[in-house]
């Protein structure tokens, strides 16, 4: 049921800035793929291209063999691919329940009855621990709660492939632990695949089945979490050139 997304030779240029230069990767099948790289390496841009928010300058994106690189974001949702935003974007005037209900009505499920959607929303909110805030306007939610709401909404679209943009950022050590276990629990229950773009190494390393490392828009390594952090190119990207000279 989970779609296979294949990105091939993706280039994305903004004027003279080459944000992504020839990156290929494959997502799907309930796998969690981590995407890491130093600041400004092009991770978010790549995620936006996969989500349909940006069109690639060059390269193709296919889902189960079908070319979707020119598809807008809302059409990608229909294929079961949904993204979250780095800075959560809740519908501030609506309650938590209503926010999730929008996702149910316009996501893959296309729930026609608002009443039914509002009812079902409670179940999804409970999954992320926000059932107590179901009828609070989103404007009254804390940053952490908004992040959870963002996650709940993406889930509610019925997506089987999630593109998560720095969902673990800005959490205290305790909050991070909770967030990681929440993610694991929900993923086990719903079985979605995900691309996790992150700076927070704990999260990526713990959750990923596979990790891709990007630097200056290019893929410099990929493999299991362990393989990746022992890769000299990756170490160099993060710690500097001299680091590899000093390596044993």
């Amino acid at each position: 049921m989970s779609p296979t997304l294949e990105a091939s030779g993706i280039h994305k240029y903004f004027g003279g800035v080459k944000a992504v230069q020839g990156v290929s990767l494959t997502l799907g099948g309930g796998r969690i793929v981590g995407l890491i790289g130093p600041n400004g390496s092009g991770k978010s841009t790549l995620l936006n291209v996969l989500a349909g928010v940006e069109k690639p300058t060059k390269g193709t994106v296919t889902v189960d063999g079908r070319r979707v690189d020119r598809w807008p974001a809302h059409r990608m949702v229909g294929l079961g691919i949904a993204k979250t935003h780095q800075i959560p974007k809740p519908f501030l005037a609506m309650t938590g329940r209503e926010n999730v209900a929008v996702a149910m009505m316009y996501g893959r499920r296309r729930e026609a009855e608002p009443a039914a959607a509002l009812e079902e929303s409670l179940r999804i909110l409970a999954l992320v621990g926000l059932e107590g805030r179901a009828d609070t306007p989103a404007s009254n939610l804390s940053v952490q709660q908004r992040k959870r709401l963002e996650f709940a909404r993406a889930l509610a679209t019925g997506a089987s492939l999630l593109l998560l943009d720095e969902i673990f950022a800005g959490l205290s050590p305790e909050e991070l632990r909770d967030a990681i276990s929440l993610f694991t629990r929900v993923q086990k229950e719903l079985g979605f695949g995900a691309l996790v773009v992150e700076h927070v190494m704990q999260a990526v390393m713990t959750l990923s089945d596979h990790v891709v490392v990007i630097e200056e828009g290019r893929k410099i390594a990929e493999g299991s979490p362990k393989e990746v952090v022992e890769n000299p190119a990756v170490i160099e990207a993060y710690l500097g050139t001299e680091a590899t000279d000093a390596a044993p």
């Binding site: 952490q144 190494m201 993060y238 710690l239 500097g240």
Partner: protein, 235 residues
């Protein structure tokens, strides 16, 4: 010269810094390294006054400047070169540099300081009339540092000067930063590129998760295995 004592700070309900304590000694180059999201930039923002700490103190030359507004700090002698430089793209190189001598104190000796900056970065003299938006990444970084120097600071605060620069340029810039130290300038620098930074540092702090986890002279911090573990959160 500059001391941060037990700083707690954050944005919008998210706490980023937890009990950060560090000192930048006069005349020394102090670096702050660590993985992304560790709070390095936030620490600098506290120093520059862009973020108000919820707890703790910022002491500069004996004065408590914790509550001092950001715009008053350059006059005190704290000059910043922010992440990504933030130059004015439509102004020329010289225009950007001269703008750095905004405060009264600096304005009187602007020409003199400008000469010094051009001596430090000869490339900028050549590109003096070029609009800053057309400069290369390395040149822009030079202008960023030069602009900060124009305010005749006592301490130069640099946020990720290596960002977006090719390795060769990084070495070049860092050599110049080292030169500043020889002129007696105090430098506080945040860098993700740990090795390049430690090479020119007198003292270093390693941050992780909003907290200082290790500190000491560069030799002590240059443990690859240790740094690897910190950066990649390997337990």
């Amino acid at each position: 010269m500059l001391r941060l004592d037990g700083i707690h700070a954050g944005y919008d309900g998210t706490q980023v810094l937890r009990d950060v304590t560090l000192t930048a000694e006069e005349g020394a180059t102090t670096v702050l390294i660590g993985p992304n999201g560790a709070g390095k930039s936030t620490t600098l923002k506290v120093v520059n006054g862009l973020v108000r700490p919820t707890r703790g103190h910022v002491v500069f030359r004996g004065d408590d400047i914790t509550r001092m507004p950001a715009h008053a700090r350059p006059d005190k002698g704290i000059a910043a070169c922010p992440e990504g430089r933030r130059l004015f793209p439509l102004l020329t190189t010289e225009g950007n540099l001269r703008l750095g001598a905004y405060t009264k104190r600096a304005r009187s000796s602007a020409d003199e300081t400008l000469a010094y900056v051009y001596e430090l970065f000869p490339r900028l003299r050549e590109r003096a009339r070029v609009k800053a938006g057309r400069l290369s990444g390395g040149e822009q970084q030079m202008v960023g540092i030069g602009r900060a120097l124009m305010s005749k600071p006592s301490i130069l605060v640099l946020d990720e000067p290596s960002l977006g620069l090719a390795p060769k340029l990084v070495s070049e810039i860092f050599v110049k930063i080292r030169k500043l130290r020889e002129a007696g300038l105090t430098v506080l620098m945040v860098e993700q590129n740990a090795y390049a930074a430690l090479r020119i540092a007198d003292f270093g702090y390693v941050m992780q998760n909003g907290h200082v986890v290790k500190s000491g002279p560069p030799a002590e911090l240059l443990d690859l295995e240790d740094l690897r573990k910190t950066y990649f959160a390997i337990p």
